[in-house]
């Protein structure tokens, strides 16, 4: 038996002994010495009626207030006082206080889970709150774990809520996870998902894994029992980074993580209480747009799995040095902006401020906006041509036509180039012969990465007079027009 299992066994034994002791004390103490919670009748004018010790023949250890608070699920036929007592003695670690963690933490606090741990490392932003309903407007800028813990304590002051502000990392994962009975993966990125699953295999903890993006959600219980598979059993190869859309890029309908996070709380309650059948060896995939809930029966764990198979290479000794970023090809980033791409040399790009000067000097200059339609529709520069990067190849002919029209309409291209030079740019001379035949045009996106990719595609297609704008429309909002909406 591992030390963590021993610890867990001792904790349970300790709780049972305490409950027994409390019951014995109640049966032996004179009425006047009873604990206040157990003697409301004495304060309520019922002194004439001798109080008697409540009989806890089931040794559940719940006090009167707990029984009152949780009565609606205690009287539930399939649940009962023992299941509630197991919740009150139990502990759950929730990794991520975002869209999934919000409802999960609230429901688990409300349900009376005795000890909740909340792990996050971000602060609340206004754009989080449409789905991360545990946080309030007043919490913007506050650490998410602290904000979530405060909300849990406000719901239920009788439970213990612990916070971890540094996030989950390979060097602290196994130790942290070992301190809790059930783990809830409410994280938002692939490297953290593999880390949590691996650590749950090592620490032998059941893992309630949920995920949501767009209008899709997924839910399953990993690492449960002797034969329950882990995340790696199902996905031994990490999906390509491009297929792991993040909420910040792809968007998410707020209620979708709400549905999945709530179901995660339900699975955690079932695991702790021992009531009902969990989603171990079942994967639930939901398509909220189609209104489709699809459950797939999974196999037992894979003997070849490197985390939970017959001869795992991921162990307590090796996990802390495992490179999850390298394995998944992604950093454990979250809603943060992606790292700036350096595809087009800096000397061939201009700042938003320079763009403003050029547009003033070159009336009618073409601006290509390569953001997705939904983002373009929020706000764009006047007259910008919408050519989303995702379907960029389809727009090449239209861009050529438009550039040809611009060239015809502006025979005095040299004047445009002179204006550009006068505007103090650094990119005026880089476009070779094409610059002479048509005026330069400008490519923008949200932050300045896709615009470089689009520009590279244009150059491959022989259209070389485009100029990239560093920082994209977010840069424009910072440097030029602070009223331009960001998202």
């Amino acid at each position: 038996m591992s030390s963590s299992e021993e610890l867990q066994r001792l904790r349970a034994e300790n709780e049972a002994l305490r409950a027994e002791l409390a019951a014995l004390k109640r049966s032996q103490q004179p009425p006047a010495a009873q604990a206040p919670a157990a003697a409301p009748a004495a304060n309520g004018g019922g002194a004439a009626c001798p109080a008697f010790a409540p009989w806890d023949g089931m040794h559940h250890g719940l006090d009167k207030e707990q029984i009152s608070r949780y009565s609606r699920q205690i009287i539930l036929h399939s649940f009962g006082v023992q299941a509630q007592a197991r919740l009150c003695r139990g502990s759950v670690l929730i990794i991520g206080a975002g869209g999934l963690g919000s409802p999960a933490a609230l429901y688990l606090a409300a349900a009376g889970v005795g000890r909740l741990g909340i792990v996050d490392r971000d602060v609340v932003e206004l754009s989080n709150i449409h789905r991360q309903v545990i946080h309030k407007e007043a919490s913007v800028g506050v650490h998410k774990a602290l904000s979530a813990a405060e909300a849990c304590r406000a719901l239920n002051s009788s439970i213990l809520v612990e916070t971890y502000l540094e996030g989950l990392k390979p060097d602290n994962a196994v130790e942290l996870i070992s301190e809790y009975d059930v783990i809830v993966d409410a994280s938002d990125n692939a490297p953290t998902r593999y880390l949590i699953s691996d650590a749950c295999c090592v620490a032998r903890r059941p893992l309630v894994s949920g995920a949501a993006i767009g209008t899709d959600g997924q839910l399953t219980v990993y690492c449960h029992g002797e034969d329950g598979p882990c995340y790696r059993c199902l996905f031994p190869e990490s999906p390509a980074a491009g297929n792991c859309a993040r909420c910040v890029d792809a968007g998410v309908l707020g209620v979708v993580p709400g549905v999945i996070g709530t179901l995660q709380a339900l699975e955690a309650v079932k695991l702790l209480s021992g009531v009902g059948d969990t989603l171990s060896r079942r994967l639930l995939a939901i398509d909220c747009a189609a209104g489709r809930f699809h459950s797939v029966k999974l196999r037992a764990k894979s003997p070849a799995c490197i985390a939970c198979g017959t001869s795992p290479t991921i162990t307590a000794a090796t996990l802390p040095s495992y490179d999850y970023a390298a394995f998944t090809g992604q950093a454990a980033a979250n809603d943060a902006a992606p790292a700036p791409l350096q595809l087009i040399p800096r000397g061939e790009r201009i700042t938003p401020r320079e763009l403003q000067q050029r547009l003033a000097a070159e009336p009618g200059a073409l601006v290509l906006d390569v953001r997705p339609l939904e983002q373009f529709n929020i706000c764009h520069l006047p007259g910008a041509m919408h050519t989303p990067y995702k379907y960029f190849d389809r727009h090449l002919d239209a861009i050529r036509t438009r550039l040809g029209a611009s060239a015809a309409a502006q025979p005095a291209t040299a004047a445009g180039a002179a204006n550009a030079a006068a505007a103090g740019d650094t990119a005026a001379e880089q476009n070779g012969t094409d610059t002479a035949s048509s005026p330069p045009f400008y490519v923008v996106c949200r932050r300045g990465n896709d615009s470089q990719r689009a520009l590279a595609a244009l150059r491959r297609a022989g259209i070389s007079q485009g100029i990239d704008v560093v920082g994209g429309m977010e840069g424009w909002a910072r440097e030029v027009d602070t009223s331009f909406p960001t998202y």
Partner: protein, 83 residues
Amino acid sequence: MDVRVLFFARSRELAGTSEASVTLEPGSTTTVLLQQLLQKYPQLQELQGSFVFSLNQEYLAPGEEQPLKGGDEVAVIPPISGG
């Protein structure tokens, strides 16, 4: 014979539909179906095989081949990681 294909998450975006009906020669297998799906929706190759493939709500291991019959339902479920 016709089988029904459900696309979830990224596979739905790549295929451009949440479900499709695929007509196969009688006696075809799941391997044949997967080949046909990749021909009909070449964009699905982007998933590089990293998805759960199920037949009538039961998981199929990568490379596992099962016979199909008319009315069968398969699902393509790539992992998602958002939260």
